[in-house]
Symmetry: C2
């Protein structure tokens, strides 16, 4: 039985775990990956404390900090949860874990195409992150399914590297974006805009070799040889399994109050998976801390510890109080 | 005319300024000091990204980051503000500044004794931070006016360093704290507990030489020679000048919503000066970012820029959009 299980290992989840562990809660992180969206940020300039840092470097620094506190991290994807003398958490890997409190901090995941071949060829030519994987396609031909500014950003990144990029989108334009920036990408000469089209299948034996593209005007389907398919249609929270368990907003985000409490007692949430405005690393980190302190108060109430004074910068750890020694730490 | 003036240069204020400047708002920081409460933290272990860092080191790192973005920092204490075609801010130093938006992030300040001699001898033997200044009183005799756990912490820190510490408090005990930890401090032998007493004057010519202590039982006043007086009665937000300007709670904290908006349009707040629960460095930093993004949206509305999409990690800076170049940054 854990005191708290944190679902997700991005900056929100890892900060939650750091705080929970420092308060001596028995803490487990379950996550499908480490670092979350930080891993896709080539350079972060607005995280206070670092003039410039790679997202992956920041993630690994925080991971070490968390591991140093004795937090267990398991790479397992949580797929279900139920309340029963605390909570039981089920993972895609077939395990189940029990906990008193839960913190959901699993961020957002890329929106998928949902076409044949996509799942099978994920990581074998199908990518959801141009900025991470573009360098693997130097001088090759790729397709981009991208919408809005996310798509535009991907097109720009790819245009610097690949020989040719087919930019596939269903409308007459790639979305509500500045005509000037579209022009800029067009002028590079290696991006082929394909309005009113969609990918209907991804083909390949072991790795991507071609795509089937359908014209939304004529209905005609055409095969195009590509070495990679980039899907950049934005992100959404993968919260379907939580519908009915906690309140979600119309975007599927978990609704939290300023204490990072969800609609269900004992369940907290932090970071991009929540309805918090402005998705930023430092904001997610702050929320992670709030969620952990709220979770501590919840667990403390069950176990009969004294409640943290909200104004306390110096959190006294309970065993120190009980032990009679004086040891305050920030 | 500034786009935004940030009042305060702790982690909340500096993060606000960092974000505002990155969004190309013309930004000024006005603060009575640099670093705020960070300067009093000898070691921080729970700021994600640093396994261990001195508070002052973190403050200076963030200050460099902010200065690198071209933010102006002036050491002036804001004492008044009024709304008039934007806002006019008045400082104790006699200057006034105009701005479209305001972010209050000036944290909390130590509660003072309000006795004769205190103001005059501040920094000359009168200290509000045992952990900062205790080393200056090695083997000397000092007085501590301390309540609750803050006072206890100070007593513990002082007992390691000074020859003798008179611990002065008005009640029968120093406050609602664990008897075990009081016992621990007592056993050190150099802390003299003085229940039902209060300091009525601090004396000294250029520096503290003695205090007048009154017994709350007999009314008798007695002079005690001390080299220093530590006042550790906790912190409060110095927001009296904002009463009637923005809504405050019963503790004098500025009330903000989840967007860090106050009750007055164009005025935002972040960090320990607000009613946000759990005062922690990383939480203040997160709030600072939120306040700046909200201030940007407010200024953008006035100036006619497009509103930041709340889901955007990649904030496009407006001149880049107008200039036709493509340049996305995290």
């Amino acid at each position: 039985m854990y005191d708290v299980i944190v679902v997700g290992a991005g900056i929100a989840g890892m900060t939650s775990a750091l705080y929970a562990a420092r308060l001596e809660l028995k803490t487990l992180i379950l996550s499908r990956d480490i670092g979350g969206q930080l891993m896709m940020a080539p350079e972060i300039q607005n995280y206070p404390g670092f003039i410039s840092i790679r997202g992956s470097d920041l993630a690994l620094r925080v991971m070490k900090q968390v591991e140093g506190m004795g937090v267990e991290i398991r790479i397992e994807e949580v797929v279900n949860v139920k309340e029963e003398k605390g909570f039981i958490v089920y993972t895609a890997e077939g395990s189940q874990y029990e906990t008193l409190a839960l913190i959901f901090a699993f961020g957002k995941t890329p929106i998928e195409l949902n076409v044949p071949g996509e799942k099978r060829l994920k990581g074998k030519g199908v990518s959801y992150c141009a900025i991470c994987d573009a360098p693997l396609y130097k001088d090759k031909i790729v397709a981009l399914v991208g919408l809005g500014e996310v798509g535009l950003h991907a097109a720009s990144v790819l245009s610097e590297v690949v020989r040719k990029c087919y930019w596939i989108f269903p409308g007459p334009t790639p979305g509500a974006i500045s005509p000037n920036v579209v022009k800029y990408v067009k002028e590079k000469g290696n991006v082929v805009l394909m309005p009113r089209t969609q990918v209907v299948e991804i083909k390949g034996d072991g790795k991507v070799s071609s795509i089937l593209v359908k014209s939304l005007e004529s209905g005609e389907v055409r095969e195009i040889e590509v070495a990679g398919v980039f899907v950049e249609m934005g992100y959404k929270p993968k919260t379907d399994f939580l519908r009915g368990f906690v309140d979600l907003n119309e975007k599927g985000e978990i609704i939290v109050n300023s204490l990072c409490e969800t609609s269900r007692k004992g369940v907290f949430a932090a970071g991009d998976v929540t309805n918090i405005p402005y998705k930023q690393a430092v904001i997610s980190a702050g929320q992670g801390a709030i969620a952990a302190l709220s979770a501590y108060n919840y667990v403390a109430q069950i176990k009969g510890y004294s409640r943290i004074d909200r104004d306390w910068k110096h959190l006294r750890v309970r065993h120190e109080e009980e032990g009679g020694g004086l040891f305050l730490r920030i």
